[in-house]
């Protein structure tokens, strides 16, 4: 949701009634919005006995589901900011799962992380050679990478896991888990061998509206968090800083906007694109390694199940911005977590989305954007009716939830999404017109 706001932020409030003074601070606005969503979520959860809607377990799971998607999305961000479309993220992630599991099995989990990154980066390099050096169509190369990774990893499994107990052509041996962290006092972490009290857990158990739900959110992200999650999260501000606050980042982005202008200013465009695409592969590979080492504890063939593609969607959703990618991934992660933990809670989600849309519609009308407000109100009524007239969401529709929500957000947010100007275009050195 935050992303829609980020995008809206860039738009001067030129239409309709201006914002009240109080709401001019973007951070405050985001905080208010998040609190409202949480408050409503808590009320809906209690009213419909969909307790998983705001449980710390769901938030924790959402967080874990979001990480591989976010890492793939960040990978896509680097490549596309440099002007290379990366459909091969899924394949690079597959390489990350295989190499991550192999490294984890051979040397320990952190080596698994390293090998996962290297495996993904290797396929990133192949993509770079094809698209940057040989100017192969980016989509064609990406699709080939996906097929190549799947077949290549199968081949490696037959070679490496032959006669390894517990492993086979489709799976690796078990990998040891990465240590987790719980914050002392707040989430009951250990302090010098003594188990401190779990304050947030205590508040959550009281089931106070809003307060317990807020405690659940914080508890979900501070209790039993893998160290690798913290590393992955740190990559969001790091990427922002690298791409928007360093000369290297400026050069990289200029290659995606206008490579010939960059070239005329002395930027080695080919080299920048190589850096970007290899980094992209490495990040997707890290996502694969996360999936294996933190979430699954084992490599299974094709276990990525499209997470690389979802990462690509999260990147588009996030408007080619690191924080936007995180927001998009969190949305997908939450939908996945809710569905996996309590499918019936997805029904309650309809009511929540309906009420939120209704509030959004009122807000839009207040801003004197009548037409838009009516359209949103129609959606709101639709969702609330759907909730009221049914007892559950048909199982076939449940997996669609994240996509429907994404579509809604994208279509309701003002269409200010912009891709890098030279994204996907072939670049040849010295060909400027």
């Amino acid at each position: 949701m935050s992303t829609a706001r980020d995008v809206a932020e860039q738009i001067p409030p030129d239409r309709g009634r201006p914002l009240p003074d109080l709401l001019h601070d973007r951070r405050l606005r985001l905080l208010l919005l998040a609190s409202a969503v949480l408050l409503l979520g808590g009320v809906v959860a209690r009213a419909t006995s969909a307790q998983e809607l705001t449980s710390s377990g769901t938030f924790g799971a959402a967080f874990r589901f979001a990480m591989p998607v976010m890492l793939a999305g960040l990978g896509g961000l680097y490549a596309e900011r440099s002007g290379v479309i990366n459909i091969g993220l899924e394949g690079m992630m597959i390489a990350g799962t295989w190499f991550g599991a192999w490294g984890g099995w051979q040397f320990g989990p952190w080596y698994g992380v390293l090998f996962g990154v290297l495996g993904g980066a290797l396929f990133g390099l192949i993509h770079a050679i094809a698209t940057v050096t040989f100017a192969v169509d980016h989509i064609v190369s990406g699709v080939a990478i996906n097929a190549l990774a799947l077949g290549g990893m199968r081949f490696l499994s037959t070679v490496v896991y032959d006669n390894v107990p517990g492993a086979g052509v489709t799976q690796s041996p078990r990998t040891a888990p990465i240590d987790t962290l719980s914050i002392p006092f707040l989430s009951g972490g250990d302090l010098f061998g003594w188990r401190s009290p779990d304050m947030l857990g205590w508040i959550e158990d009281r089931s106070w509206v809003f307060l317990s739900d807020a405690a659940a959110v914080v508890s979900g992200v501070t209790k039993g968090v893998s160290w690798l999650t913290l590393v992955a999260l740190a990559l969001v501000p790091l990427s922002w800083w690298l791409l928007w606050r360093t000369p290297w980042g400026l050069r990289l982005r200029s290659c995606g906007e206008n490579p010939y202008a960059a070239e005329s200013l002395g930027v080695n465009v080919l080299r920048m694109k190589y850096y970007a695409v290899v980094t992209s592969g490495g990040l997707a590979g890290l996502g694969g390694a996360y999936l294996v080492l933190v979430q699954a504890g084992i490599y299974r063939e094709a276990q990525t199940a499209g997470r690389g593609f979802i990462g690509l969607a999260a990147m588009l959703f996030g408007n080619y911005q690191p924080t936007g990618v995180l927001g998009g991934a969190a949305l997908f992660g939450f939908a996945d977590a809710l569905r996996i933990r309590q499918t019936s809670a997805v029904h309650a989600l309809l009511l929540l989305v309906g009420i939120l849309l209704a509030m959004f519609a009122l807000w839009t009308v207040y801003r004197l954007q009548l037409q838009r407000g009516l359209a949103i109100a129609a959606f709101a009524v639709g969702f609330i009716l759907w909730f009221a007239l049914t007892d559950d969401v048909p199982p076939e529709f449940v997996p669609m939830t994240p996509y429907v929500v994404t579509l809604l957000v994208l279509s309701l947010a003002s269409q200010r999404l912009r891709m890098p100007a030279a994204d996907g275009l072939r670049y040849r050195k010295g060909e400027a017109v």
Binding site: E52, G57, A61, A135, G151, T158, I298, E301, P399
Partner: protein, 364 residues
């Protein structure tokens, strides 16, 4: 420059094909070298193929046994990771002339019998099944009923086996909350759920069974996504379950991880129940202590039996063979000795099911 682009593309394509073609795992001992002998068997695996530590491996074991025993030649093929070339594989084996073809897995049902026979998708009348196109060869489909005079159906009473592990879970549970994780929400997996729930209710009508499927068809990744399996299990343990049964293929590994993690973190032990093969034998040593029992499905026994019948020249076409508790086609495993104390009770239930005193439902 165009030339260079083409060369790059072609190179990439060739690399892809080579890498994709290099499949295959442990070898078949009586592989035919293009010459189908008197008794030729073609085995078409489902996703995972030989070496999957589960379903396909059990079929492979039966084939290996037949190879070692008699004058049999055989060939085996496994589909790509997405399973889209299942039909291609089966047709290829049939065209090569193998007299006895064994497609392994319920996904072959429409491929063998033809989509026209399936009322749900009957609009495509022109589509005929592989068995109809090769009427002089015999097919034996694992996990599907017979669809013609040259098709042997092999079905298992998964609900009966699941009933027994459900009963075991109900006896062993201290929280009276028990979980069931299904890989994909299809009728075959619902059969496991129905039997399991009935087994729990038979012992303790007040116990709660939390049911969760990982994906909905046509998304079959739920059989191969241990991350989802683990989160589903964590959710069930969070809600008070202390025993969780899975019928989720490769996603089940996540359940075992969750059981270990939860037991380690809280100090009070929670259990997992395995499926298809005796999973305590194939998981990592660290995970063995958390597997209570497994609902075993003897694909090896069933495939071995139809191969023997075919080799002996018996006429079995058109039949659907049911492998249930009475022939030990399904059952519960005792490895790990975790259910020794209640085995008398479970065997009594088994006898009652066989005699018909207990009728286990096969739909939830």
């Amino acid at each position: 420059m165009l030339k260079r682009t083409r060369a790059g593309l072609a190179g990439l394509a060739v690399f892809t094909l080579v890498a994709a073609a290099c499949g295959g795992g442990a070898e078949l001992t009586c592989e035919s070298d293009g010459d189908v002998g008197d008794v030729g068997i073609g085995l078409a695996y489902d996703i995972g193929g030989r070496g999957d530590q589960s379903f396909n491996d059990l079929a492979a074991a039966a084939l290996d046994k037949a190879c070692s025993e008699g004058n049999v030649t055989a060939q085996e093929l496994e589909p790509a990771a997405g399973g889209e070339n299942r039909e291609e594989n089966l047709r290829l084996l049939a065209e090569e002339g193998y007299g006895f073809l064994v497609p392994v897995g319920f996904a072959y049902q429409d491929i063998v019998g033809g989509i026209a026979d399936n009322p749900d998708t009957a609009e495509d009348e022109s589509k005929t099944g592989v068995a109809e196109d090769f009427p002089n060869q015999l097919f034996a489909i694992v996990d599907g009923p017979s669809s013609g005079s040259n098709v042997v159906g092999i079905v298992f009473a998964e609900h009966e086996g699941s009933f027994l592990v459900g009963a075991a879970a109900a006896v062993k549970s201290e929280t009276n909350t028990i979980g069931f994780i299904g890989g994909v929400n299809v009728p075959l997996i619902q059969k496991f759920q129905a039997g399991f729930e009935a087994g729990v209710a038979h012992i303790n009508p007040d116990a709660e069974v939390i049911v969760q499927y990982l994906t909905e068809p046509p998304d079959f990744t739920g059989f191969n996504d241990p991350a989802k399996g683990k989160e589903a299990a964590v959710g069930m343990y969070d809600r008070g379950a202390d025993i969780v049964f899975h019928a989720a293929g490769g996603s089940g590994g996540g359940l075992f991880e969750a059981a270990k993690e939860r037991s380690d973190a809280t100090g009070s032990k929670v259990w997992a129940i395995g499926v298809d093969s005796d999973q305590i034998n194939i998981v990592d040593d660290d995970l063995k202590p958390y597997i209570l029992t497994s609902m075993v499905k003897r694909v090896d026994v069933a495939v071995g039996q139809v191969i023997d019948s075919y080799v002996a020249g018996e006429s079995i076409g058109g039949q659907t063979l049911a492998f249930d508790l009475s022939v030990d086609g399904v059952g519960y495993s005792t490895t790990g000795n975790n259910v020794d104390d209640i085995s008398a009770q479970l065997d009594d239930l088994k006898a009652q099911i066989i005699s018909g005193a207990i009728v286990v439902p096969d739909t939830p």
